[in-house]
Symmetry: C2
Subunit: 439 residues, 2 copies
């Protein structure tokens, strides 16, 4: 992408009303613009990152056998009356009345709607197990939206729903999601720690939050240091195998959020292994059995002809919140430092003297060569001064920078900079393209 044809409204000043690094940086880099309390427009660079996260989540859900679909944003109030949650949900639910005075709502979550879809089509144990997911905008009317996309009102969530015949089958489905989550977060460059969690308004008897550590995290978390060093299950995991060991490898260690914290159990961990920190919730999984299938009559026939309510679980990932979460985990004093997997572009190419024929030609060739090699490139072909170009490229935090200027061209070299380490090296372009290629 040529920057001169793009829309990247970077600003020099830090906005006064942003309290945390990710919010400041998302505003300064022109990733989002606020349109109302907790409601954001995703400007082009912001959308690029959001889409990359969405795609990683999609790939890991599909790998675990879940099937993608898409539910609407608006739902009928009557469906929520069936589960009893319409009155329970409180003011966070945005209630809407249409022109015919029908009561609707902007979905804050989708247990009721997916149960309604399920009961319309699935009648037999032979159609199980089933795991359906979508990535759709939700609305929760938070009383005090804050921290930018970290606690917005309109937010993008991936929510998956599993359906099984028996409690044991439901645990198998739960473990698949548990492992898929670890892989997905790892691919985004994050270490997410599963912690026993309160089930809250979703309900159920088994629940884990996936937490990444960050000083600006919304809640205190406590865990065993061993959890920080465990590798993810890996993309070659056989999801049809017994995943119990993979789960227990983690659940054997202490890890809990504030609400579930057990001071005595934590004190029993050797002092040097105790981690007490702040955390950001990026995922939450629930096994809630028949909490919705029973009142909503979502039943399936068993092999011996009985009708039983289906066992369910739900599995959320805060997709838009992750954009903020990743920045909290990955930034320095000069700006964002994107992990390669979610970076809006892989390489930033800086033309040091736009209008100089040799410089323009070398940059155009480099842009074409990098693009042809399959890399996503942001080519700064604007006529701003060098200092501004460097600062902007640092701020938006692409993994690699290639700088081409008249002096380098004379010497047959370009400058390659690695954003994360800050390492700068001069080398011929033919070497540079190999150095920056994704490994």
């Amino acid at each position: 992408m040529r920057l001169s044809k793009y829309f990247l409204p970077v600003s020099k000043e830090a906005p006064a009303d942003a309290a945390i690094a990710s919010h400041k940086l998302m505003l300064r880099t022109g990733m989002v613009r606020q349109n109302g309390a907790g409601i954001y427009t995703w400007l082009p660079m912001g959308l690029k990152v959001l889409t990359r996260i969405e795609q990683i989540v999609r790939e890991e859900m599909n790998r675990a056998g879940a099937v993608e679909m898409l539910m609407p944003t608006l739902q009928q109030a009557d469906l929520w009356r069936e589960s009893g949650r319409y009155d329970d949900y409180g003011k966070e639910m945005l209630r809407i009345t249409d022109r015919h005075d029908r009561e609707m709502l902007f979905g804050p979550t989708n247990e009721e709607l997916i149960t309604d879809v399920f009961r319309a089509y699935v009648k037999s144990y032979k159609q199980l197990p089933l795991n359906l997911y979508h990535q759709q905008w939700k609305f929760r009317d938070e009383v005090r939206p804050r921290f930018g996309v970290m606690r917005g009102r309109e937010f993008l969530m991936k929510d998956a729903y599993s359906f099984d015949l028996t409690e044991e089958d439901a645990r198998v489905s739960y473990r698949k999601m548990f492992c898929a989550y670890l892989n997905a977060f790892d691919r985004m460059g994050l270490t997410a720690i599963p912690m026993r969690a309160d089930t809250g308004p979703i309900g159920g008897d088994m629940s884990h939050e996936f937490i990444i550590l960050a000083d600006t995290g919304e809640s205190a978390v406590f865990c065993d240091k061993a959890l920080l060093d465990l590798p993810p299950p890996g993309l070659d995991l056989d999801f049809d195998s017994d995943l119990n060991a993979e789960v227990e490898k983690r659940t054997q260690y202490y890890a809990a959020t504030e609400e579930m914290h057990d001071e005595a159990a934590f004190a029993a961990i050797p002092a040097e292994s105790r981690v007490s920190a702040r955390g950001i919730e990026v995922g939450h999984i629930f096994n809630f059995g028949t909490k919705y299938s029973l009142p909503m009559n979502a039943v399936v026939q068993t092999a011996d002809g009985q009708m039983v309510p289906v066992q369910m679980g739900s599995y959320g990932i805060g997709v838009s919140r992750l954009v903020g979460g990743i920045i909290e985990a990955c930034h320095d004093e000069n700006g964002i430092v994107w992990p390669e997997s979610v970076a809006p572009w892989h390489v930033g190419l800086i033309n040091m003297r736009v209008g100089d024929a040799a410089c323009d030609a070398a940059c155009d060739d480099a842009y074409k060569a990098l693009t042809d090699a399959g890399m996503d490139v942001l080519y700064d072909d604007t006529d701003e001064r060098a200092g501004g170009k460097f600062a902007r490229m640092e701020l938006i935090g692409l993994p690699w920078q290639i700088v081409i200027g008249p002096r380098g061209i004379e010497n047959g070299v370009v400058e390659v900079k690695h954003r994360k380490t800050g390492e700068k090296t001069e080398m011929p372009f033919a070497e540079a393209i190999k150095k920056v290629a994704p490994k």
Copy 2:
């Protein structure tokens, strides 16, 4: 995708309440499920098609130089008061009040919001031209939603907005979209005819609807037959060149919707060239100058230091509606006949005797070979009887079918069927994979 692990709830009966072919077929093939008046869940196969259309639209918008972003579904009422449309829009606008009694609305279109984004960042003619687009769910509270996704209330629209310094520049932007639309619809297997249109509530002095012909179309349309045979501008079109000739090649011929129809002008066309038919609107483009920039004070500085309101246009494509529109144009008595570019899968692979070792092995090998060759395959590995499998595969309308059974295995052949022509041929699998490969 193995059908046994997928969710494709095909139904044998035609639903009683669906009036047109696309609605019937989308319900029968389990592409969508209605969740309320004009509100649909996109089941997995439906979402696959929707996503393919979205991707074609994205590629053609990007090719024409537009930049993708994403605005939220909910907007502030105050923004619509600035343009004066909050009171004008009527009951089709879904008005919402949040917990703090702030007035909001579910966006039916985005002229106000994009103008607000623009004025926040763009101050100089040097930042123009600019064309920003998004693909986002909209809501229009139709009094009588009908025809499935063709006239839903919650629907997916691509809307682009162009910003230019002068009226002539704005016409250049308009022509780019005009040509991009012709290419996009052509890639979907559709012949879309641009017709002079009323500008309606969007406003402006120049507007074209893009109409595909279908017996079930919502309005009468009239045009010169020559328009049906014109090839699209082509994907190698240089969008920086003068596109006037490309546009006039079409606008020289008579073409108008009912509201704009001029009986005398139509009568002047030779009788054999007069086409009077029904049409479905799949796109609508507008050039409305300063209708929004003036009241909302979206001004830019010119080269000689003056502040002038920016010239704007907007460009819509009914992305979810197109799923229905394509089916209206592409079906027969046995079901849907997808154009290759939007088909949910390219090939349907039918295993005629699941459980038979030789049959299973041959199918597994074929599935792997087709997938490795980059084709998207739906592998019917269910244990239903052959008749049901054939009927279902016809109904969902994938471009190609490959049928593998015990008799064929003995003779070293598979059966290849082309859905559109109905042509069936037996040949070795090595030939079949070449025959079905996208050309």
